[in-house]
Symmetry: C2
């Protein structure tokens, strides 16, 4: 019988630029980590610790942002920040902007978000390199705790076809992105149809169940999965545009 437990880390303070996230997490742990625990961290506190917060008062909107603001009634300065974080606009319809970010993720508003920014009239951006953020956080946590943990950095994305948002992995270190069943066979000898399970995305989704949105639980621990070591990253989730039927 496989058994997992997940819990949220309580009592983290409001995170500010330059904060030592690994130190705060290690201090906040109610119980010691184990080897192969997965530490799941919401993007927002990673971004805040990395100073990825922009005060809208400092932003001068471009012509394009002003035009989109006029079309949609949205804040031109916030649209300007979103455009700077956007490699390609995938859709701009009915005031909804779906971006391909510079990382290659496809999501609303390039992941730029005004809520829980920690300061009035500010927005939080995705980390510049969420896989790098995860790798650094992992290194710091391993050094502080002596445990060989894995790290997943998450954000909450919408998706086509299905209502509702789900938490996904945008950065990761020390575990696989995809568990491959390719070349494995069922008892009747048929190769399994589902060949790749997005295990870090499923970990992100599971962690959201204990993290919540309003409750300020931006860190969760997942124990019992004990994922194999891997050098895969969340970049392995980025489907190349030419292979994507839905761009």
């Amino acid at each position: 019988m496989r058994r997992l437990s997940l819990w949220s880390v309580d009592g983290l303070p409001e995170i500010r630029p330059g904060d030592d996230l690994a130190g705060l997490i290690a201090t906040g742990l109610g119980e010691p980590l184990h080897d192969r625990d997965v530490v799941v961290v919401a993007q927002k506190i990673v971004s805040k610790a990395e100073g990825r917060v922009v005060a809208l008062s400092t932003v001068t909107p471009s012509e394009r942002a002003l035009k989109m603001a006029a079309e949609s009634g949205k804040d031109a300065r916030q649209l300007e920040v979103v455009l700077r974080e956007t490699r390609t606009i995938v859709r701009w319809e009915r005031g909804v902007l779906i971006s391909e970010t510079h990382h290659g993720f496809v999501c609303a508003n390039a992941g730029v978000d005004r809520s829980n920014a920690g300061a009035a009239d500010s927005v939080v951006l995705l980390p510049v390199d969420p896989d790098g953020s995860a790798a650094r956080l992992r290194e710091d946590l391993v050094r502080r705790t002596g445990c060989d943990v894995a790290v997943v950095v998450t954000d909450t994305f919408g998706r086509p076809w299905r209502e509702g948002h789900v938490n996904v992995a945008i950065g990761m270190a020390g575990l696989p992105a995809l568990l491959r069943y390719m070349g494995q066979y069922d008892p009747q000898g048929y190769e399994l149809r589902v060949t790749e399970i997005a295990v870090a995305d499923e970990i992100a989704a599971a962690a959201e169940l204990v993290m919540g949105k309003l409750d300020r639980h931006p860190v969760a621990i997942v124990r019992g999965l004990e994922p194999p070591e891997s050098t895969e990253t969340a970049h392995d989730y980025v489907r190349p545009k030419e292979k994507d039927m839905f761009r």
Copy 2:
């Protein structure tokens, strides 16, 4: 601190048409259920118990299926079954068929799958009414165990933009599909951007981590979430076509 535990139910036999799924699950439980546990069940065993298995030798392919088979090198009989389960073809490219099913789900091959069918040259179809399947299973489990559990029926779907498959809810009973943060505010007074979390999809994803694909663990228990009672169904995940930017 919120804490969840998840585990798989072991030792279920190969499920056959007419099997009493609730009875087999109740018997297989290693420990008693609690009120508000969530019982997560893989679609495949629900479909098998409901007799949603088709022997390909009984299928006469239509002209359309024969044409698609010639284009793709796929089995015309299997394509015929997929077409019967399809309300609208969303994409047919490079041998990949993305269907809108009669339920409204968008997924590869209308959810028709050859692996783990339990019989050679057979395919398993999605349940006719997965929400109804979940409701009946819930009723049977409540009656047998005396516990007010919720039930989620899952399948593993691909998605646009991101590589890998994730487990999602295709049927559910006794818990909400969407947790709404609408009208709730962060400490700076901004309304939260992510207004609806697809909680049953996140439960499905979490459960996959203990269910696996090859290990014949088609049932998992999720304890500690204690979702509120709800009459929502997986149909609440179906985004109406006219609201979908990616059809």
